[in-house]
Structures are given as C-alpha cells and as structure tokens.
C-alpha cells in the first residue's frame, strides 16, 4: 500500500500511457473493420478470404509482431506507434467478423422497406444497416476493448510505457505491490472501458432498451 501511495504520479502516468495506446487502436480497429466487414457481407466471394484472413492475423504472436513492425512501417523499435498498429491489427482480426455477422443479421424487410422508401444506397447503409447491425458490432467491440487493454501490456517487454511496465519493473526489482498494482489496474481499466461501451451503446441505440409491450 505504501508503494502505491509513494508512486501515485508514476501510476497515473502509466495508466494515461496505457489509455493513449489502447484507445486509438480500438477506434482504428472499428473504423477499418466496418468497410472490411461490409465487403465480406456484400460480396459472397470475399466472405471466406476476408474473414479467414482476419482470423489468421490474430494467430500472429505479438512479440515477433512488435519486432517486425518497425521494419515494415519504418518506425523506431521503441516507438509507441508499433504497439498501436499491432493492437489495431488484432482488433480488426476480431471485429471484422462481428461487423459482417451484424450486417448479415439486419432484417431483410427493414432493408427492403428502406429501399422502397427511397433511401440512396450510402445513406441506407449508414442510417439503416449500420445501426441495426449495431448491437452485434457492439458486442464484438467490447471483446476488442478488453483484449486490447490486456494485450497493450506486452509492449512493456520492449520498454514502451503502459501499465505493463509496472509488472516488468516490479518483477525485476522484486516489488510485489507494483506487480499487483499493474495487474489490478489493467483489469479495472478493461472493465471500466467495457461498462463505458455498454453505456454508450444504450445511449446510441435507444430502441434496444425499449421494453416490448410497454
């Protein structure tokens, strides 16, 4: 407990760094997954390749990826961008399938009603298909959020700041409190983000909480 009280600024710093790395990755994964998921949903020929390809990305071990990425994208080994890019790739790997499944699940009568009413295609996608796929996409996004927050700690092995540095440092210096703080805060952060997404989902998709027959 004393260790925590003595190191509050350090903990705040690491938490901030952790968020600054994982949040952009989660957001980027969402932005990239929507068009990819749409392709898989819209073109049956692309369905297999896109979804399998995305799934395989998740099979790439994270440590080698952190080492290979700087070579591929021309960043320094310790650059935080590597971690953001790697986490984005893992996020996309998980999320593309949710987006495709969500779009597949849009009720066909809602879609043809939108056509009959005179929605232009892009507007129909953005204001009918996407919101109706929302609940499925959201559940995928929650998994991505939690997994990203947890994976983010791996960057600590390369010395990139995150809550993960609390375990590596604590381990090297034999400070149990520091290790525990790192673990607990990672879990708390993941849970908080998950709760936040659920709350945002309820705000953005009010029809999902409307009670039937109310």
């Amino acid at each position: 407990m004393n260790w925590v009280l003595d190191n509050l600024p350090l903990i705040a710093d690491r938490t901030w760094a952790h968020l600054a790395t994982s949040l952009p990755a989660i957001l980027a994964a969402l932005v990239i997954s929507v068009p990819l998921g749409w392709l898989a949903h819209r073109y049956r020929v692309l369905n297999g390749p896109v979804l399998t390809g995305a799934g395989l990305m998740y099979a790439i071990p994270s440590l080698p990826l952190f080492i290979v990425l700087p070579v591929l994208i021309g960043t320094g080994v310790r650059d935080v961008v590597n971690v953001v890019v790697a986490l984005t790739l893992y996020g996309v790997a998980l999320l593309v399938r949710s987006v495709a499944d969500g779009l597949d699940g849009v009720p066909p009568e809602a879609r043809s009603a939108a056509v009959a009413l005179g929605y232009p295609p892009l507007r129909r996608f953005l204001t009918v298909d996407l919101p109706l796929a929302g609940p499925v996409i959201l559940s995928g996004l929650r998994v991505v959020a939690v997994s990203t927050v947890s994976l983010c700690t791996v960057g600590a092995v390369l010395g990139i700041p995150s809550l993960g540095l609390l375990f590596t440092d604590g381990f090297q210096r034999g400070i149990l409190a520091e290790i525990l703080t790192g673990i607990v805060l990672t879990v708390v952060l993941a849970l908080a983000l998950d709760r936040l997404l659920v709350a945002l989902g309820r705000l953005a998709m009010p029809w999902t909480r409307a009670e039937v027959g109310a």
Partner: protein, 300 residues
C-alpha cells in the same frame, strides 16, 4: 394512372414470374391484384417503383416510362406499405412516419407537424409517437405503415399484403378504414392480396392472376361474384364449394337472415322499416366493419 404494356419478367435463374402482362390502373381507383403466392403479383407491384425492372415491356406512370426515371426519386413519389408493416425497428413511430418527408429535406418541425396529421388520419393515438415499432400491436404497426406510405402525399400508394399478418377483427377494421381513407384522399392504390374476401371488400377493380401473372379475370367485385369467368375464378372465390351461395332463413325474432351453404350467417336482410341493407351487394360483406351476421344477427 399506372399502365403495364406487355410486361415480362424473367429472373436470372430462368423463372418467368410475369409473362406478357398488360393492365391499366385508372387514376384514383383502388385496384387489387389477387392471386396465390408465386403468381407474380408482388413482382408486378415492385415494377411500379423500380424495385424490380421488367425484362421486356414497359411500365408507365402518368404516361411516362418509369425505366427512364431515377429509382430513388421515383420511390419518394410513390408510397409503399408492406406486410408486417416493414417499419424501421430502430426508429420511433414519428420518425418512421416522417421518413420520406425528411429524406426530401423537409425540416424537422414541419415533418413533426405532418406526422401529427398523418397519425390522426389513420387513427393513431398521438401518445404513441415516441414508441418503437416493437412496442406496438400488429394493427397499430400497420396503421403506422399506412401513415408512413402517405406522409409525402404520393399520387400512388402500393400496398403489398399490408393486412396479412393481423387478426381477422383488426383486419376488417383496417379494411373499412382504408376504404374510407381512399374515398377521402383519392390516391391511386394498387393493392396486392391472396385473400379474395379482402379483394371483394376493397377493390374498385380486381385483377385475379394465375401463375405467370396470367389474368384469369378482371372486373368489379360485383362482376366477379355474379359472372365468374371460368372455373379457376369460381374455385378461387370459393363458389365451387358453395361458400358464397346464399339463401334466406327466418331467425327467431322474425328477421330474415342470409346464410351460406355451410349454415354460416352472412347478414341480415333489410327490414321493411328501412334498416340498412347490408347483404344486398356480395362485395359489401366487409364494408360495414365487423361482418354483419357474425356478431349482429339476432338469429346467429
């Protein structure tokens, strides 16, 4: 006015849904396309707003071939009401009704006002405006569907089995109100159904279709019942089973009840003291709300 000119629709898999079909739907009438599922009636209806394009032939709206019109703009000029209401589940009643006006760029306040008018027109309680479709009964959903179809004040309203999924009592009430509404607003309505009772109750003109959209008979409800063109029409009407052959019976209170071949009362014959003559026109069976006879006939 909608005109089909030798329209054929062949789908990619080779099925011919519509073969050389021609028909005029006069302005301001309610025309019913009736037939079993798979006869091509929905395909025909969807050609009007270009959800389906014919393989050959033309569909004209007010003399102009729809093939030359932008589908999105065309659809916003034509109301569409579908089975199971087709409401957008993520939008409230008010938002659903305001869809086309909003797509056309009408501002929020004007759209809201229009929504209120439409809800009143179709008999929806204003309190339902902020509900989601899943919170409504089947009958209410269909009313919202009709209100949405009419919100942009279209010249043509397409109705694809709109009352197919509601219970019989609500259905006959919706039919009665649709007739009344049609008299009030005079929109040209093209109505698809497989239910001949519904066709008889609603149509100014009925077009009964066989497979491939082959016209078995075209005429008024009266003509259908009085002069069925062939055995197909007789079977479809239920005439071959005697369901529409009526005879008179005297009820316990002395009134004369009209009864079909199964002994089901169809109505009360007019009394000399001037009670309404509900049973005179066969097509009028569902004209007066709940069928006379099933509820009102004293001898039933």
């Amino acid at each position: 006015m909608i005109s089909y000119r030798s329209v054929t629709k062949r789908f990619a898999d080779g099925t011919v849904a519509v073969q050389d079909f021609s028909l005029d739907v006069p302005r301001g009438t309610l025309t019913v396309l009736a037939g079993s599922s798979g006869c091509g009636k929905t395909t025909l209806m969807r050609m009007v707003n270009r959800m389906v394009d014919p393989s050959s032939g033309q569909v004209l709206v007010d003399g102009e071939d729809v093939a030359g019109r932008d589908p999105v703009a065309l659809r916003r000029r034509i109301g569409y009401v579908m089975q199971n209401s087709g409401l957008l589940p993520h939008r409230t009643v008010a938002q659903n009704i305001a869809t086309v006006p909003r797509l056309n760029g009408v501002d929020r306040r004007a759209a809201r006002r229009r929504t209120g008018e439409m809800m009143e027109l179709v008999g929806l309680d204003a309190k339902l405006a902020d509900r989601y479709p899943a919170q409504l009964s089947g009958g209410q959903q269909q009313r919202v569907g009709v209100a949405r179809g009419l919100a942009a004040d279209p010249d043509i309203l397409l109705m694809d089995e709109p009352f197919g999924a509601v219970d019989p009592l609500v259905r006959s009430e919706l039919q009665r109100q649709l007739r009344q509404l049609h008299g009030q607003i005079g929109t040209t309505i093209l109505f698809v159904t497989h239910d001949m009772d519904e066709a008889l109750a609603l149509g100014d003109q009925i077009v009964l279709l066989r497979a491939g959209a082959d016209i078995a008979q075209q005429g008024t409800p009266r003509e259908f019942v009085a002069e069925p063109a062939n055995d197909f029409v007789r079977t479809f009407l239920g005439l071959d089973r005697g369901q529409r052959t009526l005879h008179r019976e005297r009820a316990a209170d002395g009134s004369i009840v009209v009864v079909d071949a199964h002994g089901r009362p169809a109505g009360v014959l007019a009394e000399p003291d001037g009670r309404p003559d509900d049973g005179a026109r066969p097509g009028a069976m569902a004209d007066g709300g709940p069928r006379p006879g099933t509820q009102d006939a004293p001898g039933a």
